[in-house]
């Protein structure tokens, strides 16, 4: 489908990050990640569990952007999941989270804590939140709605989510649950299928969204990116997925986050 809108391509690329996850918690954070994660659950990964955004795991796939009473009315709760249970779940490992990233680097390190020196930052952000625990315990992917050299960087200012170089330093035992699977941006999809000279996985261009050139991706990236011989175009939604996207996001939140080019 060549006329796919960019936000829909992003949603499908996010959904694809969860392909193969089977029965585990699909836990995307932010509007487009939620839409993409729910798209996967509503289509090709029907056994994924989702959260209601707060304190329970749900076994249906409700739309995003509901007001509080609708959110409660539409959820089919499978189990109670207050924060302490969420930590238990993620330490146990049956979870794939997609977080945002103020910065993400070549080895997949992520920063959401601060810009500048952490001790007295130029810009204080969220803090480490759950990123260190997530990345050492289970699969993590990232969503970057504003791909630029300030976001995709050579090395992040503060390592919150740990990348493959930090995991390698820890060694294979400590890092045995670590996996950074994808970085989905508004321009392209990266994985970590290639490695640097020391065998450490690095950002590798997996596909470019329709209408984006490889050069544009490279210009928008502040670090080296491995470009394989053949880079496919990211796919748009098929008919079933297109209908699901309309159901999941009737208000078009995804288009506010990633406008048409």
């Amino acid at each position: 489908m060549s006329g796919a809108r960019r936000a829909d391509v992003c949603a499908v690329a996010i959904a694809e990050a969860f392909r193969g996850d089977g029965e585990r918690l699909c836990n995307p954070i932010g509007n487009l990640p939620l839409i993409g994660g729910r798209l996967a659950a509503a289509t090709f990964e029907p056994h994924l569990a989702l959260t209601d955004g707060f304190y329970s795991l749900v076994d249906n796939v409700p739309p995003v952007g509901l007001d509080e009473s609708e959110r409660q009315a539409q959820r089919v709760v499978g189990s109670w999941n207050p924060y302490r249970s969420m930590f238990g779940l993620l330490w146990h490992g049956r979870r794939h989270v997609m977080m945002g990233a103020t910065q993400v680097d070549r080895h997949g390190n992520q920063n959401i804590a601060a810009i500048g020196d952490w001790h007295q930052p130029r810009s204080q952000l969220l803090g480490f939140r759950g990123a260190p625990g997530n990345t050492i315990n289970h699969t993590t992917s990232y969503w970057v709605p504003n791909h630029s050299p300030k976001v995709v960087v050579e090395s992040v200012d503060v390592v919150c989510g740990i990348g493959y170089d930090r995991a390698a330093e820890l060694g294979p035992v400590s890092a045995r649950f670590h996996e950074v699977r994808r970085v989905v941006t508004n321009l392209c999809v990266f994985d970590f299928s290639a490695s640097d000279d020391s065998g450490v996985p690095v950002l590798t261009l997996r596909s470019v969204h329709p209408g984006v050139t490889i050069d544009e991706v490279l210009e928008a990236s502040g670090c080296e990116v491995v470009v394989p011989g053949e880079v496919p175009e990211s796919r748009g939604p098929d008919q079933v997925e297109a209908a699901e996207l309309e159901r999941l996001d009737p208000g078009g939140l995804r288009f506010a986050e990633v406008p048409d080019q």
């Binding site: 707060f54 304190y55 329970s56 509080e68 109670w80 207050p82 924060y83 302490r84 930590f87 993620l90 330490w91 804590a113 601060a114 952490w118 001790h119 007295q120 930052p121 130029r122 810009s123 204080q124 952000l125 969220l126 803090g127 480490f128 939140r129 759950g130 990123a131 260190p132 625990g133 990345t135 050492i136 315990n137 503060v158 390592v159 919150c160 989510g161 740990i162 930090r166 995991a167 330093e169 820890l170 294979p172 035992v173 400590s174 890092a175 045995r176 649950f177």
Partner: protein, 295 residues
């Protein structure tokens, strides 16, 4: 036998606190914070406080007032406004020092203190900048071999977050401190009261013990025992402007007003004079007036 009568006022509680103390604050972000006690602390001359919290406006207010000099947190956020503006300013100006932990590490620190352990081990934090930026955090080597590799795994030893005092807000309590949380998440309030030498519970309503479960409250919501509580204070609407469902939601308009006080000293001074230099009943009257106007 009924427990002892531990009813007190917010000013009596604050009189029990001392400058230099480490104080844990319950709730999560801008959810169920013991704001009436925070406001009482803001009116006091307490200073040099270490605040330990999944932080929200409790942390921001005490940073802005200059009373907090160190903050230990899993994050500091207003939820609907992701970045807490006063905490942010304090960090950027260097007016406080900070310990910023992974959210799960924070839970383990509280749990260790509550169980009177020196630390609890975890994988969370390994490889990240948490131990690099906060070198007081140490690792520990497992005395047991990992079955797959035969290796003795190195883990992060999260030190106990011991508290001089804890302050938490609960929906209902009796006069001796047995407390009930409503809503869907107890947060870590029950761990916080055990992590502290002395624990102070504020509550929407003090009721007789036999009425704690009135209205169909499930047994599992009776999360805090009087054994862990020093004093209990009735503070209706006391979590305002943070949320306290099902009793009330977050006052988003008021939170926006609060967040805007980071724009200038004048904005803060005006807010302080209008809302914080009053006693709690004056504050609540102002808030009621505002919501009347909004209606």
């Amino acid at each position: 036998m009924p427990g002892p009568d531990k009813r007190a006022t917010t000013s009596e509680v604050v009189a029990e606190l001392r400058s230099g103390m480490t104080i844990g604050v319950g709730g999560w972000g801008s959810r169920r914070k013991p704001m009436a006690l925070i406001r009482e602390i803001l009116r006091s001359d307490l200073t040099d406080l270490t605040i330990v919290a999944y932080g929200g406006p409790d942390v921001g207010l005490l940073c802005r007032s200059g009373q907090a000099t160190h903050v230990t947190s899993g994050f500091v956020s207003l939820d609907s406004i992701p970045l807490e503006p006063h905490y942010r300013a304090a960090r950027q100006q260097g007016s406080i020092t900070a310990t910023e932990l992974d959210e799960g590490m924070f839970l383990l620190g509280l749990q260790a203190a509550a169980w009177r352990l020196p630390f609890l081990p975890t994988r969370a934090g390994l490889g990240s900048d948490v131990p690099r930026m906060m070198p007081h955090l140490r690792t520990v080597t497992s005395p047991y071999q990992e079955p797959g590799s035969g290796e003795c795994e190195e883990l992060l030893a999260v030190p106990a977050l011991r508290l001089d005092a804890a302050i938490v807000h609960q929906h209902r309590a009796d006069a001796s401190g047995n407390a009930v949380w409503l809503g869907e998440d107890p947060f870590m309030d029950d761990l916080m009261v055990r992590a502290a030498d002395r624990a102070f519970v504020t509550t929407e309503r003090i009721v007789p013990t036999e009425s704690l479960r009135d209205g169909g409250v499930d047994l599992t919501h009776q999360g805090i025992s009087r054994l862990d509580v020093t004093a209990v204070v009735e503070t209706p609407n006391g979590a305002h402007f943070t949320e306290c469902p099902p009793d009330y939601g977050r006052d988003e308009a008021f939170q926006r007003r609060y967040a805007a006080t980071a724009k200038s000293d004048e904005a803060w001074d005006d807010f302080r004079a209008e809302f914080l230099d009053l006693d709690e009943s004056g504050y609540q009257a102002k808030v009621a007036e505002l919501s009347e106007v909004a209606r």
